[in-house]
């Protein structure tokens, strides 16, 4: 199955870079949706057509590929923003940092005490790289929408880890993770609206006014 999964995972990494380098929010959301859809294929590609994998893939596709991106696209239509301007760290530097962390993830994964069958394939390094990218996005961007995207990427990274373990992990746990994600996005959506209404902007740095 390595033949099929490795291109998938490489595509996931490329999408990571795209989100780091692009300023257009609409494109970013679509690309993250694409990543979610690709990840939905991953359980099937790894474990074959089992019922467990099907449920997992269908859940991921529905939530990450369709539902949440639709929500986000509607949100940016309503608050009328198109571009991420003035990130805290510029696009090129974040791309470079992203490349470095991805390389670091690949090196780091070699050191991890994994069982032999997890050593081959790009699962662990991709998962780590996606988590790092998600964090980078969360840290360096100002708009709340991009931060939600960062959160999604973070979850995608965890999902890749989960696929690796899905034989051992009960379905409940994964369902819990997906639910967690959904609730998280909802809460952030509400926060988003509130920030927008209160400060007429989506920049989260205004939140520092809440500091005691």
């Amino acid at each position: 199955m390595i033949e099929l999964t490795n291109p998938l995972l490489l595509a996931v990494i490329l999408i990571n870079f795209f989100t780091l380098g692009s300023a257009r929010l609409g494109a970013c959301i679509r690309v993250v949706a694409l990543q979610g859809a690709l990840l939905a294929l991953l359980p099937l590609a790894t474990h074959g057509m089992s019922g467990h994998a099907l449920i997992l893939g269908a859940g991921a596709l529905l939530l990450k590929g369709i539902f949440i991106p639709t929500l986000l696209l509607r949100a940016i239509r309503e608050v009328r923003i198109r571009r991420e301007v003035e990130p805290i760290i510029g696009f090129v530097p974040t791309l470079i940092i992203g490349a470095l962390t991805t390389a670091g993830a690949f090196i780091f994964a070699d050191f991890l005490p994994l069982i032999a069958e997890h050593h081959e394939g790009f699962y662990v390094p991709t998962a780590l790289a996606t988590i790092f990218t998600g964090f980078l996005l969360l840290i360096t961007r100002r708009k709340a929408i991009t931060q939600i995207l960062g959160y999604l990427l973070l979850e995608n990274g965890i999902f890749i880890f989960g696929v690796l373990l899905s034989a051992a992990m009960p379905l409940m746990v994964e369902a819990g993770v997906l639910l967690d994600l959904l609730v998280g996005v909802f809460v952030m959506g509400i926060v988003l609206n509130q920030i927008n209404r209160e400060f007429s902007t989506l920049n989260t740095e205004r939140l520092s006014a809440l500091k005691e």
């Binding site: 805290i88 050191f111 991890l112 005490p113 964090f135 969360l138 840290i139 360096t140 961007r141 931060q147 989260t204 740095e205 939140l207 520092s208 006014a209 809440l210 500091k211």
Partner: protein, 663 residues
């Protein structure tokens, strides 16, 4: 075991149903009924184990990682299940009428939910045989009692008291977590049944575990330097909750300490001395502060510190005697400590419930606004006086029996030992005697100021008698107090299996023969008192007396306000007895000039440990941590960055540690 388990199920089910009800009366009915049906079942099981001595066990599958729903009811656990079940029963009976007025303005559903959950948690704590189950039950107990303490959360002092309680309880929880992590990593298991290998521990690490257990549990028990939450939390809570907390909830901590003492290797003498000295200090400290309080429930709370101190003194001295190879003396001390634990549960229950009726009738906790209540609520007043007699260790009630046993053990140790070591137990006798004298002062003051004399305030003049259910729930425990006082041998027989588990020696006839004359004397005394009362009443009947006002010391218009206040009563004793640091703050009261202007005198009793040591300490720590405020920039990305850095470091550390451990 099935009975106890079904009791737990009934209580838990009752709590959930009570939560769903909308009407306060329905919630009260459901809550009371579930407690009334469940507790007799628990009592049955506890008595079976206490009499037969055969432990009961129950194992159920539980899906929590590392957890096992393992319950074990051995004599030690049954010894604690019994007072928990008994006192819960009466507190639940009492709570209905006590809370009725409250229930008209707010829903009582949460109250009954939390109350039943608290009972479930206490029963689970003393029967749990698995670390995860024990700690979750312990936490459940803390949280439910926190919400019950904060029941009247609209008052700021209540919120503060509950907050202090939560903070201090979690400080203890941290120590307990450390204790259980150490123990289970040493034994390689989370089940209490596998903790047997603890008895091979070297003394130094066993001492660390002992100290962790002593202070981790001691925080809940009201051990002397960490008792600070207790005097605030008990007045804040509704009275039946204070009765339950003071009577049995804090005792679960003593259970924890005893359970660990059974598991750890034989205790060296200094463990016992530490416990006994902390206990004696706490007893003296608690009772001398109790004698200063105006708030009747705060006074009772400090008396709890005193009684817990006496229990610890007995248990600690039992450890000392065991370490010195004097099993008979150890048996006396342990028996005294354990019996005092039961006694305290009974009479402190009566005292707090009685204080509740007074508060219910007058709407105030300030004793200086009461007075003359015995005439307006004679039944509740008499029961309260009975409780006070028991708690001041007066014959023919039970307080004397347990303190008598501790006195005997101390005196025996002082007599049998040679040289300098004999001094310590004899000095402890002196301290215990002083505690007894101060307890007499405290409770004669409590009764005298609240119940006797004239009403000092309209609220006391309009007081009403308590409801029958409230009187029953005070009367039955008081009857139990009297029974133990008249027939102490029976109570000691019930204790025998627990004593066997703790000391390893069967109960000796010496112990029984030491208390049976006490019981006989108590019966004689009771008869004598009865005869005197009959004669007195007959004499009074024959020669009716005219009533007039008390002589006003020459004042033209004497009013009830010139009678003794609570402060006035205790002033003489305290001014000459207490060190300056323990005395209350007095402001005003100076009289200047030939024709002095009206002046005011106010007296405020503080807890010196809290106000002079702990508060300044924590304030200075908080000030130091102010410098770390620059970490908190209020910028979301920076916070996320912190999380990221922490996670990365943890991951690398895990990897690094794993490599080194793996070789």
């Amino acid at each position: 075991m099935n009975l106890l388990f079904s009791a737990l199920i009934i209580l838990f089910g009752g709590s959930l149903i009570a939560l769903l009800t909308r009407k306060s009366t329905l919630a009260t009915r459901v809550g009371t009924l579930s407690v009334l049906t469940a507790t007799p079942l628990a009592i049955c099981d506890a008595l079976t184990v206490l009499i037969g001595g055969q432990p009961l066990a129950l194992n159920l599958p539980w899906s929590v990682p590392g957890g096992e729903f393992a319950l074990l009811l051995d004599p030690l656990a049954a010894f604690f299940v019994l007072p928990i079940a008994v006192l819960s029963l009466f507190c639940a009976l009492y709570a209905g009428p006590y809370m009725r007025h409250d229930g008209q303005t707010r829903s009582l559903a949460p109250h009954w939910f939390l109350f039943n959950i608290m009972i479930v948690a206490m029963l689970l704590v003393v029967t749990a045989a698995n670390t995860v189950l024990f700690l979750s039950a312990w936490e459940m107990m803390t949280i439910s009692s926190f919400f019950l303490v904060a029941w009247n959360h609209r008052q700021e002092e209540v919120r503060k008291a509950a907050w202090l309680y939560l903070l201090v309880a979690h400080f203890g929880m941290v120590l307990l977590l450390a204790l259980f992590i150490l123990v289970s990593s040493y034994c390689g298991s989370l089940n209490f049944s596998d903790f047997g290998s603890l008895s091979q521990l070297p003394l130094s690490s066993a001492s660390v575990l002992y100290l962790l257990a002593l202070f981790g549990f001691g925080v809940k028990a009201g051990l002397f330097p960490v008792h600070i939450w207790l005097p605030d939390a008990h007045p804040a809570a509704p009275s039946h909750v204070s009765a339950l907390m003071s009577g049995v909830l804090i005792k679960t901590a003593i259970y924890g300490i005893l359970r660990f003492l059974c598991l750890l290797p034989p205790a060296p003498a200094w463990w016992g001395w530490l416990l006994a000295l902390l206990g004696a200090t706490g007893a003296l400290y608690g009772i001398s502060l109790a004698a200063q309080q105006r708030d009747i429930k705060r006074c009772l709370a400090y008396s709890t510190v005193e009684n817990v101190g006496i229990i610890f003194l007995g248990l600690g001295f039992g450890m000392v005697a065991t370490a010195n190879g004097q099993p008979t003396i150890a048996m006396f001390a342990y028996a005294g400590g354990l019996l005092h634990l039961w006694n305290h549960a009974l009479f402190k229950g009566v005292m707090f419930l009685g204080a509740g009726t007074l508060v219910h009738a007058t709407g105030t906790r300030d004793m200086n606004r009461m007075g003359g209540l015995l005439r307006r609520m004679p039944l509740a007043g008499v029961l309260w006086i009975g409780g006070s007699l028991a708690i001041s260790a007066l014959p023919p009630l039970n307080g004397l029996v347990s303190e008598w046993l501790i006195y005997i053990s101390l005196a025996d140790a002082g007599i049998t030992q040679q040289g300098f070591v004999a001094l310590a137990p004899l000095l402890l006798i002196g301290l215990l005697g002083m505690v007894g004298a101060l307890a007499l002062l405290t409770f004669s003051r409590l009764i005298g100021i609240c119940l006797l004399g004239e009403a000092r305030d309209p609220v006391a003049a309009n007081a009403h008698e308590a409801k029958p259910a409230m009187l029953i729930s005070m009367g039955v425990p008081l009857a139990a107090c009297l029974t133990i006082g008249l027939f102490p041998q029976g109570a000691l027989r019930l204790l025998s299996t627990t004593l066997l588990q703790l000391t390893g020696n069967p109960i000796e006839t010496e112990l029984v023969s030491a208390v049976s004359p006490l019981g006989n004397a108590a019966v004689l005394l009771l008869f004598a008192l009865g005869a005197i009362t009959v004669v007195f009443v007959w004499l009074r009947h024959r020669r009716p007396q005219t009533q007039s006002t008390t002589w006003g010391c020459g004042y033209q218009f004497p009013s009830p306000r010139i009678s003794y206040t609570g402060e006035g009563y205790s002033e003489l004793a305290l001014r000459h007895l207490l060190p300056k640091i323990m005395r209350p703050d007095i402001s005003g009261g100076r009289i200047n000039g030939m024709f002095p202007a009206p002046t005011k005198l106010a007296q405020q009793a503080h807890d010196p440990v809290l106000t002079r040591i702990l508060l300044p300490l924590f304030i200075s720590i908080a000030n130091r941590f102010q410098r770390l405020r620059w970490l908190q920039q209020g910028q979301l990305p920076i916070y996320l960055c912190y999380i990221f850095i922490t996670n990365t470091i943890l991951m690398i550390w895990c990897l690094w540690a794993g490599r080194h451990a793996g070789g």
